[in-house]
Each structure stands twice: as C-alpha cells, then as structure tokens.
Symmetry: C3
Subunit: 305 residues, 3 copies
C-alpha cells in the first residue's frame, strides 16, 4: 500500500511494495513522453537544499507529465533558510501550499524530520550520506526491466561504497531479493558497519573484494559509483585505485555477454566513454527510466490504493 | 474595484477593497488545494530581485491553483540586470510577455516605478523597508478569519517596528478599521515618523510601549516581527531587548484566552517553539492562508469587476 | 521543412524557411497573450549555462502559451555540471526527459555538440561569440513586420560587430535577402574574417564605416549593439567611440522618417532613453515579438510539416 506514504528510507519498502511500483512504472512508460491528466490540480513542492539536476528534473518532469504542477526552490540561497528559518518551519510552509514535498538536503535525517512535520507525504530526494531511496528504486527497476527479474542475479557494486548514499539505499533495497552482492572497494571504503549489519541481518548474501578484475566475469550487473580524491590520504593510492576500478573496453573482454553496467550518474571518468556504445551500457537507459519510475511513485502516493 | 489595479502600497486600498478581497479569499479557500481553470492561459511573471520563499511560492502556487502559468526569476544573478539593464527595461520585457508582474526589490519605490512602466498590473511583493502590501492583506485576512471581524480589537505589534516593511504596511492597512494598536519596541525602533504621521492623520488609535509584559494582557492579537542584531549599537542592549520580547509559554500565562499570535515568518527565535502547540499560535495558519488570499488577489486583478 | 530540425546556426535556414517561420509567427501573434493547447503534454527543457533573461523567458512563455510544460535550470551552479559531468551526459539526460532542448552556453559549438548527442531537436539559445540564430530570426521578423518586406532595405549595424553573436547570426540570416548592409564600427571591431567571407560568398552587399553620422541618413533600419569597455586598449578611445555611436535625439534629426531602430537588448546606454518615445524606437516591440516568434519556432519544430 503506497497511498500517502512517506519515502524516507529504502528500508521502509518490502518486496511487494517494490513490485507494485515496478508494475506501475512499466505502465507509466507509455505516458512518459505524453501527458495524462491523472494529477491535474495537484501541486508538488521541490525543496532542493543541495545541488541536483537528474533527481530534481526527473521528479519535475514526472509530475508535469502526470498533469500536475511544481513549485519550489533549489539551492538554499535566495530562500528564507538564508534568513535563519528552521527546516521544520520551511517544511510547514511547503506542506501548507502543496500536496507532496520532495526534499534533498545534505544533512542526514532531514527527510525524516520533514516527514514528521508535514501532514502531506514527503519523498526523500537524497539526504546525508546514507539515503537516496528513489534512486535505489530506479536502480532495481532498471535491472527488473533489463532481465525481467532480480532474483538469482550476481550484482557487483564498485567504487566508494562508504560515502555513496546511492549504494547504501541500493543494498538496503536489495535485501528484498534473492541475489548475491559483490562489494568491490578498498578496505577503508567498504560500506559502513550499520549497513553491513543490516544486510547481514536480512540475509543478503554478500562478499568483499578489492579487485574488480577477479570478480567481473561472475557478474550479471555491475553498479559503478564515483571515488572521490578527497577520501584518500595518499594521492598515489587514489590514482592506483581509480585506475583499477575504471571501466574500460579492455576490462569488459572477460565479462558475461549480458552484463549490465549501471551508474547513478553524473559520472566523471569512472566509465570510459567508449563503453557507452557497447550493449553493456545501461546507465543512460537507467537515467531515462527515472521519469516513468517517479511518475509511478508520485501517482501511487497521491492516488494509489 | 480591483480589476487591472496595481498593488504598490497598502495606502491605496480602502476598507471596501479589503472586505471584497477577504470575501473572495474565503471563497478561494475551498480551491486552495484543488485546481480551477479560472485563469487558464494567463501568465504571471515573478521578478524577485531579493530573497523570498514564502511570498514567491504562495504567489506561484496561487497562480497555478487558478490554472495559470508562471515565468520569471529569483535572485538577480543570471539575469540581464547583471548586464546593467535598467529596472524599467526589465519590466517592459516582462510586461510584454505576461499578464501580471509580481516584483520584489530591495529598493524602495521599485514597485511604483514598475507599475508606471508596465501596461499590465504590477503587484508589490515587498520593496525597500516600507512596503509589503500583500503581506498586510494576509495579516488582516488572518485576523478577519480568526475573529470574524477586525473592529474593536486590541492589536499589539512587537519587535523592530522601524525597519520591518510588514509592520509599516500593516499599520497603514489597519487605518481602515476601528482598532487600538499597541506599538511595543525600544524607542529607537519605533515606526518611522512618516508612518506615525500617516496613521495619526487617519485617526488610528495607537500608543507606544517599551514593555511587552505591561500590555500583553490587554491584547486580542499580538503581531511579532524580528529584531536584528545589526540594528543595535550595544550588543548587551540587543540581548536584553531580544530577551524581553521573546514570546514564551511563561509569558503567555497572563494573556487573554483567545489571544492570536501572528508572525509574517520566517522567524528565528522571536517565538519559542513550545508556543507552536498552543491555541495562541496562528502564524502557521496565517502562512497557509497566503495561498487563498493571493488567489483572490490575482483573480480580482485579472478577472474581477 | 522545420519538423524535428535542430536550430544551431543561422546558416542552416534559407529564405523559404524564414518566410514560413514569419508567416507562422504572425499567426501566433493572436495567441501570444492567450493560451492554446497545440503542445499540450509536450515538455521543453531549458539548459541555460550562461545568464539570460529575455531569451529564456520568451522561450518559456512561448512554450506555456502553447500549452506545453518547461523544466530545466539556469546557471550551472546547483547542477550536475558542478560535479564534473560532461555536457554530452547532461544533454543525454535532458533528451531522455523532454521533447525539445533549448541550450545557452558560453562555449562555441556547445549547441552543435548537443544537437549531435540528442535524438530530439536542440535549439541554440546562444553559444560562444558567434551564434544566436533565434535572435537573428526575431530581428528579421521585426523588420518584416515593420516594413512588410525585407528586400531593398538599407540596414545599418553599429557597435562591437566582432564579439556580438547577435550580429554574426543576423548577418548570416540577411544573406537570404536582397539588402544593403552598412557595417559601422572601429576597424578592430569589424565582424570576424570568416563572417565577412561568408556574407561575401553569399553575395550580401555590404560596406564598412567608422562614422555613424556619415551613413545614418541612408538607413531604413539601424541595429544597435553594445560596445564593451574591456574590448579597448585605450579607455579614452573607448569613450570617444562610445560617444560617437550613442543614439541620441539630436543624431536622429537627419534620419529617414521611417528609420526603425532595433537592439537585441539588454541595453546599457547605447541608446538615449529619450529615443524610446520616438516612432524610431522598435526595440521594445522587437522584444515583445520574441514570444510569437518563438511560439512559431517551437510549434514548427514539434508539429510542423
């Protein structure tokens, strides 16, 4: 049941929720480039305190394709937050004006706080370093659309698994499926303890690796996230790791023919642009599916059963 | 008569105008969360040269709930103003594109200039230190909705009464009603001479006070505005004043049971958050009424008699 | 044939294309202040990496008057570009979300690159120092509306002809008509060699002048662009040139009675504000025509034959 639900953490949604979402998103795909009047007269507020293009624009496009309206702001400057207003007061205002709030904030827990304050549903567009639930839903939807199922797949996740909120939400969401996860990163960039504890407690099969090359051939899906230089004490170490995780045509020689490469985007140079033209590259399709996925999400929250 | 009128100063509107507006706003309340096609095909331009969230978003939401469209900018950067364009030229452009302009500017008189240049109506979303007419309309509407009338009420206004444009417009608008106004502030933060002269000339009963405690028990309405540190020569004096004007649960012990506390928002710490849950707290309702009030305002200007 | 065409350079459009556009724009004028459902359900993405008010707002207003929706960003901050995303990846995203992309970028060739990457049409809202095709279309449309024809006119262009992208696109577009162009500027601010070579190769009659006064009396149209101080080595030289090219009432004594003065706007002080009230001043009308012209452009690209 989705109606009037907040979307704060991927942990709040079970397999049934996700499958309902995927079915609805698939149905929405045929409207993703047209317009329907489903949400005529509804207003969605976007409160993006932190930079974002893809998430904000896919939500806005989704709302408008559904016939709804959007108000809001992106970047805190020029807003009452600059004047020292609390997040709670800002949320109360948006809640009074709109039917649904999508919030992005650099502080962990911002979305949870907003959901507690607001009477209307709140959707987390990414907060802190650990939650980006709608991205995780999109990631799984892309896999589901690609393979027709998720159970049984070998899913590799490579890069900075510690500070990427998309990875954390993805792993939490994956605990609803029977998959094997390969966590590929330097030791000190492994997912945080609480995340590992959570997926372990939920019985998600997972293994840790430092070498991508070693496991690549076993993977059905490879999820790539950025590694940021500032995370490294030693710049040479950074160059080494970055080099060994950079996806190139050469590296893909040993991959399964149906290997699907995903990336939340934006990418910098984690994936060689030459890879874009291979059948492995699914990250642009993934980005495109953001609109129908979010159409389904908004629709289910505002109109769903 | 509202049709095609500019809204530059609260002084331009008499009791009849305001009562028409309130009746229309009350009618609009039932549409404030739905959508009507009243203004289908109309475009409102927002030119916010100065930060604002509440005013801009309530105007935009109001226009969209009425079925209209919005174009514009907030913050001057990224606009032709940066390239040295005069305000008059910018206004001429917006006037050519849209049916109505809402402008906020830090310079006093900007809205008046815009109204002179534009053929279409211009609404002042706040300019300089002395005009924010639509906020004053919202303030009075909140009182009118709360009590069912305005005449006969004792209305306290506390804080920096000199530099707050909302206070100036509120006092000007109040001269249309038979109320008693308690002006509570340090002597050097009293309303400016021209404002006091104006309300005196219009026969608005008013008295000056430095202590909130002394008069609180007599008040039906308490309108709170911020006091900014930079207005004080002596930081200790600032702390003292700020402390004595800060609305707390304790202070409200002596208040009338029906005392309504208003605040234009955003607030910083002028009102203790504990007060939010008391029946005195009307500032969130006040913010929420901003949408129907501005729906009524836009509707009357574009479609009214 | 306009359907699904990219608009990257003025060179891509012949006389027939422009005349079709003008006829459609004239038809759109009657809708420019109302709303039609022609493009209901279509979404236009605006990607303005560089400041602009007039171009962006006229495109947005045009799309909304046509019943379509707009998503996007202006100013790169707060976008994924800040995170190091390539222009190509940003364009792929916008292409996946929307039906049409309008891009402005300070780098020459940005629009061409975007057009190559995107499956949907891309419109150049100005890139680099040499292309602003839709402004040129608007300039010619204004002349066409003013005189009823373009052939046979004497058209003067004065100011910095070297760095103004509007001038370059205007000259390229003018090669489709039988006009005489007077290029008035200091020698080192003449149009760039490739532009001069192009118009020469296309047989556009043109002559170079340093004095506006000398040729003013012969002109039917005077197109004015800014001269920026930073282009001059010698500030005194700048003052002299600026003074001699500044359009004043006095200077217009010798002008033809029907002389039409155009300016892409924003202007700083190239045209004395006293000139605004003369029948020569067509630059505000020119700005206003930006909406119907862009309505026609968007309509033809998305729905045209």
């Amino acid at each position: 049941m989705w109606r009037r639900r907040d979307v704060v953490s991927a942990r709040d949604f079970d397999r049934r929720d996700l499958e309902d979402l995927f079915e609805t998103a698939k149905y929405m795909e045929k409207y993703a480039k047209s317009r329907v009047e489903f949400l005529k007269g509804r207003v969605m507020a976007v409160a993006f305190f932190e930079p974002s293009t893809r998430t904000r624009l896919s939500f806005e496009t989704a709302m408008k394709r559904l016939g709804g309206e959007v108000v809001g702001f992106w970047g805190a400057e020029g807003t009452s937050v600059e004047k020292g207003e609390t997040l709670a007061d800002t949320v109360r205002m948006l809640d009074a004006y709109s039917d649904l709030i999508v919030i992005r904030h650099r502080y962990e827990g911002a979305a949870k706080l907003a959901a507690e304050v607001a009477e209307n549903p709140v959707v987390n567009g990414g907060d802190g370093a650990s939650n980006h639930p709608t991205q995780a839903m999109l990631d799984l939807y892309t896999i589901w659309r690609e393979f027709g199922y998720i159970d049984g797949l070998n899913i590799g996740v490579v890069g900075d698994l510690r500070h990427a909120r998309t990875v954390n939400s993805l792993l939490e969401a994956l605990t609803n499926f029977n998959v094997k996860v390969f966590l590929i990163s330097p030791e000190y960039l492994r997912p945080r303890t609480e995340t590992v504890d959570y997926i372990r407690s939920r019985g998600l099969r997972h293994s840790f690796h430092t070498s991508l090359e070693e496991v690549l051939r076993e993977l059905d899906v490879l999820y790539v996230v950025r590694i940021q230089k500032e995370r490294f004490l030693d710049p040479l170490e950074y160059e080494r790791v970055r080099g060994s995780y950079r996806i190139s045509l050469d590296m893909l020689k040993n991959a399964k023919r149906h290997l699907a490469i995903l990336h939340p985007l934006p990418r910098v140079d984690e994936i060689d642009h030459k890879v874009d033209s291979t059948p492995h590259a699914k990250y642009f399709k993934q980005a495109a599916l953001g609109v129908p996925l979010r159409m389904a999400l908004i629709y289910l929250i505002l109109m769903g059963p």
